[in-house]
């Protein structure tokens, strides 16, 4: 179990994390997701013990491991946590087996025990054949596996991942997602995973915290976030494709909603046509891509950008006028400042 309470981190004049609180049970897969600079990596480094919080506490189970108010923290190596770095941080002068073995050696394990464990984790990650190679002799995906093997070898109760898939190509990324979840289940550990890719968050997480400007915008299951976004930011950040927000104003008049508020419409609720219809919004056709038997269509005009997912797409060229018809009721309404009105 991980419990974070009022956690803050300030670097000189910059406040990277502002009073974040959340709690996940043992065995959870927590994903911290948000745009770059949102404070998610700082959160992870505080969990690892590489940074000390300026305020607030972190507890693993019943044990407080970081106490920002007291300016105190348990050493990284004594937290029963492992970290996979974005750069993998494989020690270049050690072989694959050496990389996995070294932390065990530092921990003072006997040789026979170490050998058995190294073999075991290399096998778990499917890289037992690479033991004698050096990190620069293997591919990026293999380096990634070595980094994970090295992390889980000492059997940590908490697995931390710092954007581990961002250096891999798209296909490998999908494979490694599955692989990571398998390792997560096999170890039974609690995982915290940092990414800027909401697809990774949606596919892997049991719990997601969407961070923006150092604060939690919303914390919940992937399903919660898509079905019931708490803020305009979350509504436009998660989901494939994300929901549309249309400012209430000349294009869209809603009874009882002040001008400047934003109405949310889901892509699957919009309809498109190449002919004008009453109440439809006219945009320029921008792009269309087929997905799972349907078509995703995007139209733009100035800063307005709408995406619809439809069964039948009109045959249009880029720049043609396309009409987006909205359902009578928006799925949600947000204030101009972003908070949910209804």
């Amino acid at each position: 179990m991980i419990r974070i309470q009022s956690l803050s981190k300030r670097f000189a004049s910059f406040e990277a994390v502002r009073s974040v609180s959340l709690e996940v049970p043992k065995g959870a897969f927590l994903v911290l997701v948000g745009p770059s600079g949102c404070g998610k990596s700082t959160m992870l480094r505080m969990l690892a013990g590489l940074e000390t919080p300026t305020a607030g506490t972190i507890a693993f189970g019943d044990e407080v491991v970081s106490d920002g108010d007291a300016g105190w923290g348990v050493e990284p190596s004594k937290r029963n946590a492992g970290l996979v770095f974005q750069s993998y941080a494989l020690w270049p002068h050690m072989t694959v087996a050496g990389n996995v073995d070294w932390p065990l050696k530092v921990a003072g394990l006997a040789k026979a025990e170490r050998q058995a464990r190294v073999t075991e984790v290399l096998k778990l990650l499917g890289i037992e054949a690479l033991g004698a190679r050096y990190p620069n002799e293997i591919s990026g995906g293999q380096q990634q596996r070595v980094a994970i093997a090295r992390m889980i070898a000492p059997r940590p109760g908490i697995l931390l991942f710092d954007e581990p898939l961002s250096n891999l190509d798209a296909k490998l990324r999908v494979e490694m997602r599955t692989e990571l979840l398998r390792v997560h289940r096999a170890t039974g550990a609690t995982s915290v995973y940092v990414t800027h890719d909401q697809v990774e968050a949606m596919t892997m997480a049991s719990h997601v915290a969407v961070l923006n400007n150092g604060e939690i915008e919303q914390f919940g299951s992937p399903h919660d976030l898509v079905r019931d976004p708490a803020t305009a930011f979350v509504a436009t950040f998660v989901g494939t494709p994300p929901a549309n927000l249309i400012p209430v104003g000349p294009d869209l008049e809603l009874v009882g909603v002040p001008t400047g508020a934003q109405a949310m419409f889901r892509p699957e609720h919009l309809r498109v046509s190449d002919k004008p219809r009453p109440g439809a919004i006219a945009l320029e056709f921008a792009e269309a891509s087929p997905m799972a038997g349907r078509t995703m269509i995007t139209g733009t005009r100035g800063a307005t950008r709408l995406t619809a997912v439809v069964d039948e797409a009109p045959d249009l060229a880029v720049g043609d006028t396309i009409y987006f018809a909205l359902p009578s009721e928006p799925a949600a309404i947000f204030a101009a400042s972003g908070e949910r009105l209804k």
Binding site: L50, Q86, V106, A107, E137
Partner: protein, 581 residues
């Protein structure tokens, strides 16, 4: 049919391989680099000269001719390599990996000693520590009434110290660059594994930096065994010989065959260790950044050790940069080096000839010999900078465009061969080749062109490196994208290539200029009264006891080189990644 086809293919390869250009470049490099080295070797195999090999290596004389100098040379080589790696590594670690105050300042100062010629540091040492053992003026410390023991005034100890003070910045640069690529993630990963500081240093940082440490050691080793100025100024007066000073002495007294044998052995020693270092490094895997992404600079917190470590670093930097320069300036104005800071006079700078002072030598400003030496030295520097850079650019171009096949391989090897050859041995090789007329060509010994040719060849590796950097910068995508717009060759040259390349070329040329300005070892054998050069004059004055003149000339060299170096750095906006925070 097949025959005709293969002929056609062959002729295409001819054209595309730039064969004529390659042959021309190879010929030039052959004359400049290979011929002198072959010649010096062949000279020692002649019927009259072959005996020199036994004289040097296995005779009653060989103890003094070879073995003692060789022993001293090796002591200097290993001692300097060890000292430089320790000091350079220490400073590099502080600057790159810790939260030491004034990191940038220390990082900058640690690169300066290499810009100060080693004879300047040696002269400064003499002005401070000279004792009365060899007669002449005593140094400042004896002037204060302190008795300086012989071992500290002369011989191997001061030579070692001066060489370490000169070469450590080379080790610093190499090691700092390597440490800068050590991702702080690597250290944090070890922290998470539970390793303590000592274990992280020994288990992670040192092994990752090892190739750089070996490179730093072999470079400084080669520098120390090749160095002529420091052992000549501090060792020769008490008959301490190294291979370099022995080579100089033998050629000076006309025993050229024996001198050439020593030169060949010196090249062998220097090249052997450079080769060995290179082998150690390339045998291991390259540890340069394994991934591009991630990694942040988190500095090692020194806590309570911060100030003491800073004080040590600052002391090292000040003692090897500011102090020697100040001593040189003071001593160029003090009538007696035993009282460096009193009775200052500008006589040695601006005075007219006065029989009462320094046997009537006029001050630097009025001394026609020094003035002509200054213009000749600057002239040589400019000429070599231009010829060297031009040749370097051509070689780099040929290697970039037609870099395949045995000819290109030979060009590549030849262009970097001078790096392995100590300057004084290179000078000896040039005497061997150009000392006598070749066919219809007159002997070049004692002429300006010989100095230009020798300097160009000697500095070719640096010039080629500049050329490579420049070509890499401008060729490829940039040129191709200009080509796609339809711009012709000259249009592209004028609008893209030249503007991009000019700064790099100018900076590279300035570095060649500085290296020539302050070089002593290459020119000390090629020097004749008709071709006086500043560095050699300073050396001559110093060995004749006119220390003020020697120091004044050295200050002139320093001022010119530092100005040119600063200009070069500016042009280059030198990339020193370890100074970025």
């Amino acid at each position: 049919m097949t025959h005709a086809l293969s002929l056609k293919a062959a002729s295409q390869r001819w054209a595309s391989g730039g064969l004529a250009l390659k042959l021309a470049v190879l010929l030039a490099l052959g004359v400049l680099v290979a011929a002198p080295l072959l010649r010096i070797f062949l000279e020692t195999l002649g019927p009259d000269a072959i005996a020199a090999w036994t004289d040097v290596t296995a005779s009653r004389l060989s103890r003094n001719l070879l073995w003692l100098p060789l022993a001293n040379t090796m002591i200097l080589g290993f001692g300097v390599a060890a000292g430089c790696v320790l000091i350079g590594g220490y400073l590099a670690w502080l600057v790159v990996m810790t939260d030491i105050p004034f990191r940038r300042t220390i990082g900058l100062m640690a690169t300066l000693p290499f810009m100060i010629p080693s004879f300047a540091t040696a002269l400064a040492w003499g002005s401070l520590f000279r004792n009365s053992r060899v007669g002449g003026q005593v140094g400042f410390l004896e002037g204060l009434g302190l008795a300086v023991p012989d071992w500290l005034a002369w011989g191997i100890v001061p030579t070692l110290i001066v060489l370490i003070a000169h070469y450590y910045s080379l080790a610093f640069t190499v090691i700092a660059a390597a440490l800068a690529t050590v991702n702080s993630d690597l250290v944090e990963a070890a922290q998470i594994a539970g390793a303590k500081r000592g274990r992280i240093l020994m288990g992670i940082i040192l092994p990752v930096a090892l190739p750089a440490i070996v490179a730093g050691a072999s470079l400084t080793f080669a520098g120390a065994v090749s160095n002529f100025a420091a052992p000549a100024l501090l060792g020769l007066p008490v008959r301490m010989q190294t291979l370099a000073t022995r080579l100089f002495g033998l050629i000076e007294v006309g025993q050229t065959a024996r001198g050439y044998v020593i030169a060949i052995l010196l090249i062998a020693v220097s090249a052997l260790f450079l080769w060995f270092g290179n082998k150690v490094i390339s045998g291991r895997r390259s540890y340069a950044t394994i991934t591009g992404k991630g990694g942040r600079a988190k500095r090692f917190e020194l806590a309570g050790a911060r100030l003491p470590l800073f004080a040590v670093a600052l002391a090292i930097c000040v003692l090897t940069t500011i102090v020697p320069v100040l001593i040189l300036i003071a001593s160029s104005m003090a009538p007696s080096s035993s009282a460096l800071f009193s009775n200052w006079t500008l006589h040695y700078w601006f005075g007219a000839s006065d029989p009462a002072i320094a046997q009537g030598q006029a001050g630097v400003w009025h001394n026609p010999f020094i003035l002509s030496a200054t213009s000749l030295t600057v002239g040589l520097g400019v000429t070599v900078a231009v010829t060297g850079t031009a040749l370097g650019l051509i070689v780099a171009f040929v290697l970039a465009r037609h870099g395949r096949g045995p000819l290109a391989g030979a060009i590549n090897q030849l262009s970097f061969l001078p790096l392995l050859v100590p300057g004084i041995a290179f000078g000896a090789a040039y005497i061997a080749l150009f000392g006598a007329p070749i066919g219809p060509l007159p002997a070049l010994y004692g002429t300006f062109p010989l100095l230009v040719i020798a300097g160009t060849a000697y500095l070719l590796p640096f010039a080629v490196q500049t050329g490579r950097a420049v070509i890499q910068q401008v060729s490829g995508d940039l040129d191709e994208s200009a080509r796609l717009t339809g711009a012709g060759f000259f249009r592209r040259m004028g609008a893209i290539t030249v503007p991009l390349a000019i700064r790099g070329l100018a900076a590279g040329a300035l570095i060649v200029f500085v290296k020539i300005m302050r070089d002593l070892s290459l020119v000390v054998l090629l020097f004749t009264p008709t071709t006086p050069l500043l560095a050699v004059l300073a050396y001559r004055y110093a060995s004749e006891g006119f220390t003020q003149f020697a120091n004044a000339i050295t200050v002139v060299i320093l001022v010119i080189s530092i100005a040119a170096t600063l200009l070069a750095n500016r042009l280059q906006a030198k990339s020193q990644p370890w100074l970025k925070s």
